[in-house]
Symmetry: C2
Subunit: 593 residues, 2 copies
């Protein structure tokens, strides 16, 4: 380098007046005023205006510059005339009067304008990701990500947690999602798997006595991707020994408070609210309730089971639920608006939606004829409905009703702009069911994972009434998203074996897949538990991003491709052969096509 950079483009202020400095960066804008050129020079730290006079040595070089050229300017810092001050940027009071300049590298015209996303499709932005990442808005997201990771590491280290790196090439133990496999070249026909999480390793580290472990670690799931999923994602993974739920909640609340304070300058009120799973489902129709607004669901089954309105009474009679909430000031809704809500519910499987307007404290609805005055009144009261509200009800099977009403609650809140901006409502959801029934596999599967401890008082129901067993599991929810989930683990071999059995995993299969863990539990495992944060999602929330792809430097598309380098790609024939593998058909065929 002929020159050394003395300052960044975000650094110069009034007090640097008259200093000779060297700046390097990208040409953000370039304006030719005849015998004067202005260059806005950009780097990660900011933008500085460069003034190039026609008389200066820099002029002929600067004249040939174009957008995104990489250039260096030597010059004198100078105060801008008062009427030229740009208060929008921190360097706006000064400019650099150029003496000399160098073009360090030229640039072809970018396929889209740097710093905006207006004229670029997301595919285009992903293909030229390195250009999209020149956008200061995108850079800020990754800077937040960096800072939050550092703060988390520092907090956990201060609290005696040890970051320990666990293997990426591990054993395939598919239970839940699909593993990415890595064929072994040395052992033909055998495969490693990329970790879906370091779950077994962190438990083994507890057996080793590491006491407090964490890791910010990449995890992998070969799933059919939804919009907010990526084949590889990052977790803050935490595990502790000699603890129960309270210890884990305290550590996590401290971590979240630290992150909120350092990144958002917000004081998080702890301890956080705790909501048992059953209550969350009952009140919000979901296990990750958005608590930034009310509209709590109300079960009115007991009030309407004997009404003449068959939709309600029959739902109750057949074991279902009638659930409603009052949409504030929505009695003004037109027929069309109500039809839209009805369609929303029908798309999700409801037979229909019952909408009743409230006027004063009375019903304003043709349905009044099916209900007694007392029933009407009781319902208004149960829903705390007020004059001008619109009461909305779905009556159907329990799970479906709750789920639909939970989604409707969020939809109405968004539509009515009841969700305050820049508010963060965090809570624990606790007492999850240990199992859920998989229609596909026709068996109970672990809701969390098979290492989650059942509640001790439910142990006797493990094999007889699995649906009733609660887990020592907990989720941390923030603004309607699950940002962390964890549990107290099973720490004895006997209970772990019983759990595998309850999950319908045969003894030999359990031994083959998880023998090493069962064995480890028999050599003195401490009581332990932990949690894992979805780091990408946390950063998404902290940066108000709409897509998880915005907070990942080089993300993949919904079909798990990298549009930038074309991965996954064909490889040389020898590479496949060396692995002892044969392709079923010629490459580049999308599976199923």
């Amino acid at each position: 380098m002929r020159w050394k950079r003395t300052h960044t483009c975000g650094e110069l202020r009034k007090q640097n007046d008259q200093q000779t400095v060297i700046l390097m960066g990208w040409v953000d804008r370039w304006r030719d005023h005849g015998n004067l050129l202005f260059v806005d020079l950009r780097d990660r730290y900011g933008i500085t205006q460069i003034k190039v006079d026609i008389g200066s040595e820099a002029y002929p070089v600067a004249k040939r510059m174009r957008g995104e050229f990489v250039v260096a300017f030597k010059g004198t810092v100078s105060l801008r005339p008062l009427d030229m001050v740009n208060s929008q940027i921190p360097t706006g009071e000064v400019e650099l009067v150029a003496h000399e300049c160098i073009v360090l590298n030229s640039a072809d015209t970018p396929p889209f304008q740097i710093g905006t996303t207006i004229n670029a499709s997301e595919d285009m932005r992903l293909r030229y990701r390195y250009l999209d990442l020149r956008n200061p808005r995108m850079q800020q997201k990754l800077l937040v990500r960096h800072r939050v990771a550092q703060v988390a590491r520092q907090y956990l280290s201060e609290n005696n947690f040890v970051e320990i790196e666990t293997p990426y090439l591990m054993k395939s133990t598919p239970e839940g999602a699909r593993d990415y496999l890595v064929p072994s070249r040395i052992w033909h026909g055998r495969f490693y798997a990329l970790p879906q999480s370091p779950q077994t390793y962190k438990q083994l580290l507890m057996v080793s006595g590491f006491d407090r472990y964490f890791q910010i670690v990449r995890c992998f799931r070969d799933e059919d991707l939804r919009a907010d999923r990526q084949p590889e994602f990052t977790q803050i993974d935490v595990e502790m020994s000699f603890v129960d739920e309270e210890d884990i909640f305290a550590i996590v609340e401290g971590l979240m408070a630290r992150i909120f304070k350092s990144e958002l300058d917000l004081e998080l009120t702890v301890p956080l609210q705790r909501i048992p799973y059953d209550e969350a489902m009952r009140k919000y129709g979901t296990d990750r309730p958005d608590l930034r607004f009310g509209l709590e669901l109300q079960d009115v089954g007991d009030l309407v089971h004997d009404s003449e309105f068959k939709v309600f009474s029959q739902a109750v009679a057949s074991g279902g639920k009638v659930v409603g909430f009052a949409a504030p000031s929505c009695a003004r809704y037109s027929r069309k608006q109500i039809d839209q809500l009805t369609d929303f519910c029908k798309e999700r499987g409801a037979k229909g939606l019952v909408a009743i307007k409230v006027k004063g404290s009375e019903w304003d609805s043709p349905l009044t004829k099916f209900f007694t005055q007392e029933q009407q009144q009781a319902i208004v009261e149960r829903l705390s409905a007020k004059d001008g509200d619109l009461m909305l009800f779905v009556a159907d099977q329990v799970d479906l009703t709750l789920q639909i009403m939970g989604e409707l609650r969020v939809m109405v809140a968004r539509q009515e702009q009841l969700i305050p901006a820049d508010v963060y409502k965090m809570a624990w959801v606790t007492d999850f069911p240990l199992f859920e029934y998989s229609e596909e596999e026709r068996r109970y599967v672990a809701r969390h994972h098979p290492f989650t401890s059942p509640r001790p008082s439910d142990l006797d129901k493990l094999e007889t009434e699995p649906a009733k067993v609660k887990a020592r599991a907990y989720d941390l929810v923030l603004n309607g998203l699950e940002i962390a989930g964890g549990s107290i683990r099973i720490s004895t071999r006997e209970l772990q074996a019983k759990m595998f059995n309850a999950l319908g995993i045969r003894k030999e299969e359990a031994q083959e897949k998880f023998g090493f863990l069962l064995e480890a539990l028999s050599f003195g495992a401490p009581p332990h538990g932990g949690i894992a944060f979805g780091f990408d999602r946390l950063i998404m929330l902290l940066t108000h991003s709409n897509s998880i792809r915005d907070v990942i430097a080089f993300p993949k598309t919904a079909s798990a491709m990298s549009l930038m380098d074309g991965a996954p790609a064909q490889v040389r024939e020898e590479q496949v052969k060396e692995l002892g593998l044969i392709l079923q058909q010629s490459p580049s065929i999308k599976a199923g096509e």
Copy 2:
């Protein structure tokens, strides 16, 4: 948990006398003194002695404890009688007089004694890694690793570096080592590769303007493993824009100084010594010289080319070298000892070793007859040989001679215990050749990687005299090991294309493999360069470990297996089928068998 732990087993001191505390941990030792039991309770933080009197409630429970049981004790801290103080451990002045205790988990008898490696083969230790990791010596290594990672992150963050996570599922671009491949389930016949390093990504981040990047990141190489290699290993990966070698040296020296200060309480003297590659080869016969001792090699070709000793004169005549050094006080060596040195050289390809004893300042050797008095004297002087030294020479082709003498130098230094313990000698090796000739591929290959910038003054030789082109590459060596390597990169598309061409990579191939990088370089790449540390090796050196496996929580064997969980393992047939693959033969066959 019925009880809450109040202290760790490494925490109690005299000043805790008479406090009631609860400790939890593993039974390290258990001694029955009739009406008194002693339990040494162990956790990650230390060991505390528990005294259980036959009269206490704790006694019947403690009586049933065995080694490695996980237990909790409630009791009163008490000063030990002066004659029972154990000054070996920080808690040795106190003991816990137990009131109550609980067995939290029982333990089978471990296959080897915890805390020693005496009765356990390495295979056994790897199979039960979680038990081997209970060894405080092993735990300390991972704690050092954790702390060094934190210190490195903190230092780099303070210096405006941003940690950015790059993909693990990337494109296969084998150039150098073999990639681990990950078959795509969605795109049959296509593969991802696990990164050998995030080289291309970090360069793209420079093109994005991130200016200063780092990442502590896992890398993968599917190589036939040597003793000190692992299929997955960790790098501290660093890249900077608008810099030359000096900037990178300064940042890295600051980092190393910080690590040495924090972990070893040593002041590292910076700037570090710099040794051009040619000089390193000439003086030490290696590009990673161990500078903790002298024994520098001396070329005596000019002194002996016309001697009557054909071994020497013919070596020079045929373009080879005669290189020697003086082994201090080794004139005492017996015939047998000298034969051993000779064998050492022959095993490495030398035709023989010439050993000449020095008495006073004269030769004491039958070979005197072949050399003039002046030649003898000049050689003694060139080697700075003293009375009682043994001069050792190899005469052969240049590279072979230097390599063998380099190894002999280290071997003699070890044997003579000339290498001081606890001394760290760090230096830069610079000015590497850009290319090396691959006999296997019959072409020049990149010595570092194909993105390394040639020295500007050598640009004209790139296609005509590749062997003479020097690279802007540098290695950081510590005590004879390379701990980091890096370079200033190529930052223009033109030069990068020229480089691919010089490497014999056809235009279409370069486009297909690295088109995205070439394209990125055309949109305004800043001058940039970086370095990557072998983090495992650094920790090995800092913890005085003999094996890289000792500083990795869950390492693999030389055949890339995890003895603990049996990875790589067979997977279900559907898993392979879903990937569009067929196994060449039935599984579990070691390739080539």
